[in-house]
Symmetry: C2
Subunit: 285 residues, 2 copies
C-alpha cells in the first residue's frame, strides 16, 4: 500500500530541469489500466475515502488544527478545469469545500498587487480549496500578450514561490495540476462546443483568437512550470486528452495529499460519560 501510495504523484510530478511540454504526453494514462469504463469506475471508487478524509481534516480544524489543501488547476482553454471540479471535486462534500473561479480581474482587484485577490480566496483551515485558474494567469496571459515587462515577470515568479512556501509552512498542502492537452484535442473540443446547443454558450470567438497564440502559451507555461516548481509546491503534469484519466488523476493526487496528513478523528475534549448523564437526566434537573 505505502509503495503504491505516492506512485502516481511520482509519475506525474514534473521532472527537474528545463521543461519541454512537447515531450510530455497528453494522452497517456499512467497508473490506470483500461479505458473510459475503468477510469469512470476508478474515480467513483475514490469517493468514500475522499469524503471521509475531507471530514477528518474538517474535524481536525474544528478542534484547533491548521491543515488545509489547495488544488490549483491550470491548463489551456477546454483542458477541463471545470470538468475536474464537477466530476472529481464533486465527490467531496460541499461542506468544507471552497471553489474559486478566477476571471478577468475587476478594477478593485487591479488596484492591488496580483496576489491580493488570490490571498482572499484561500480556504479556511480544514477546508479543501480549489482554484479554477489562479495567480499563474498573471505570468501566462501577461507574458503572451506582453502586458508586463520581463523584470515584472521575474518578480512575479519569485513572489509566487515565496507566497506558496508561506502557505505550505503554515500547514497547507498545495497540489498544482497542469492539465496537459494537445492542440488537436482543443480543436476537437471547440468544434464540439459549436455543434452542441447545450454547449454553445461556453464558446467565445475570442477562444479562436487565443488559440492563434498556442505556441506562445505553451512556452509561457514551460517557463512558469520551470520557475515555480519547488520542493514546497511541485507541479504535476496531468495528461488531459482523456477526460476520464484527467478526472481520476486529480482526484487521486488530492487523495494522496489528504492521506499524507495521517489524521485520525479528534479525541473529545470533554467527559463523554458526564455529558451522557446530563442528557439522560433531563426533566429530572
Amino acid at each position: 500500500m505505502s509503495e503504491d501510495r505516492y506512485a502516481l504523484a511520482d509519475q506525474l510530478r514534473l521532472p527537474p530541469g528545463p521543461v519541454r511540454l512537447a515531450d510530455l504526453p497528453t494522452d497517456a494514462h499512467p497508473g490506470l489500466d483500461g479505458g473510459k469504463q475503468e477510469g469512470v469506475a476508478a474515480l467513483a471508487a475514490l469517493g468514500a475515502e475522499l469524503a471521509e478524509l475531507q471530514e477528518r481534516m474538517y474535524a481536525d480544524a474544528y478542534t484547533g488544527g491548521s491543515h488545509r489543501v489547495l488544488v490549483v488547476l491550470q491548463g489551456m482553454d477546454t483542458s477541463g478545469k471545470g470538468g475536474v471540479v464537477e466530476k472529481a471535486i464533486g465527490l467531496l462534500s460541499p461542506n468544507g469545500l471552497r471553489i474559486t473561479s478566477f476571471k478577468k480581474p475587476t478594477d478593485e482587484e487591479l488596484a492591488h498587487d496580483f496576489l491580493w485577490r488570490i490571498d482572499r480566496a484561500l480556504p479556511d483551515p480544514g477546508v479543501v480549496g480549489v482554484f479554477d485558474r489562479s495567480h499563474y494567469e498573471d505570468v501566462l496571459v501577461h507574458r503572451v500578450h506582453g502586458l508586463v515587462d520581463e523584470a515584472e515577470l521575474e518578480r512575479r515568479y519569485e513572489a509566487v514561490n515565496a507566497w506558496e512556501k508561506g502557505l505550505v509552512d503554515a500547514g497547507t498542502v498545495v497540489v498544482k495540476c497542469f492539465l496537459h492537452i494537445s492542440a488537436e484535442t482543443q480543436k476537437e473540443r471547440l468544434l464540439a462546443r459549436l455543434d452542441d446547443p447545450e454547449k454553445q454558450w461556453k464558446f467565445k470567438p475570442g477562444d479562436v483568437d487565443e488559440r492563434q497564440h498556442w505556441t506562445d502559451y505553451q512556452r509561457a507555461y514551460e517557463v512558469a512550470l520551470e520557475r515555480c516548481h519547488t520542493d514546497a509546491a511541485p507541479w504535476y503534469v496531468v495528461p488531459a486528452d482523456r477526460k476520464w484519466y484527467r478526472n481520476w488523476a486529480v482526484a487521486r493526487l488530492l487523495l494522496d495529499a489528504l492521506r499524507g496528513m495521517e489524521l485520525g478523528w479528534p479525541a473529545p475534549d470533554y467527559d463523554v460519560a458526564e455529558q451522557r448523564a446530563r442528557l439522560e437526566a433531563e426533566g429530572q434537573e
Copy 2:
C-alpha cells in the same frame, strides 16, 4: 406535471397566521410515499435535473442573466443543516455553488450591522447560494439570550423583510427552509454523537446548555417565521425527524425554484458557421 410541480411547496409552505410549531409535524413525509429506501432513491433521482437546471442558470448568467437562488437553512442543533448540504446540495456541481456556514460573528462582523456579513455572502448571478444558518440567528439567539431589546428585534424583522424583498426584486429566488425536529429527536442525535468516535468532535457541552432553552428557541422561531413569512420570501417548514425525507424535500423545493425560472440554453451571440470555418481553416491562414 404542472399540478404536481408546486404540490410540495404548497404542502410545506407555512400557513398564514399565528405559528404554533407544536402543531406542525416533525415526522411526516408529505409528497413522498414509502420509507428510507424510497426516500434515498427519490433524492438520487433528482440529481440529473438539478445539475442540468443549475448549469442552465449558470449559462444564462454567463450571457447576461441575473437569476440566482438562495437556500436558507435554519433549524435547531442536529436538525441536519450540514446533512442537507452534503446529501441534497451535494447533487449539484461545485461549479456554480456557494455555501456559507455562519458561525459566531467575528469582531469585524460585529462592528457592522447584522446584515453586513450576510450581504457579502450572497451568490453571484447564475450561482446557487446556500446559507447554513443565516441572518435569522440574529433574531433567534439574540432573542433567547436577551442580547438585544424588543425594539431592536422589531427593527431586525423589518430589516430582514426589506432585504429579502430587495433580493427577490433583483432576480433571486429565496428558499427558506426551517428543518423541524422534535426535542426527542435532538436528544437521540446528541446521544448518537457522544457514542460515535467519528462524531464526538461535533458535540460541545454547550449543546446541552442550549437545549435547556428548547422552549424559548421554539418560541423565537415561531415569531421569526411569522414575522418574516412574506409573499416575496415565504418559509417552508420541513419535517426533519427523518433524514431521508428532509434531504429529499429540500432538494425538491430547490428543483421547483429552478424549474420556475423556465430557462432554456442561451442562443449563441456569434455566427456558428463562421466560427467553425475559422477553426477548420487553421494552418491555411
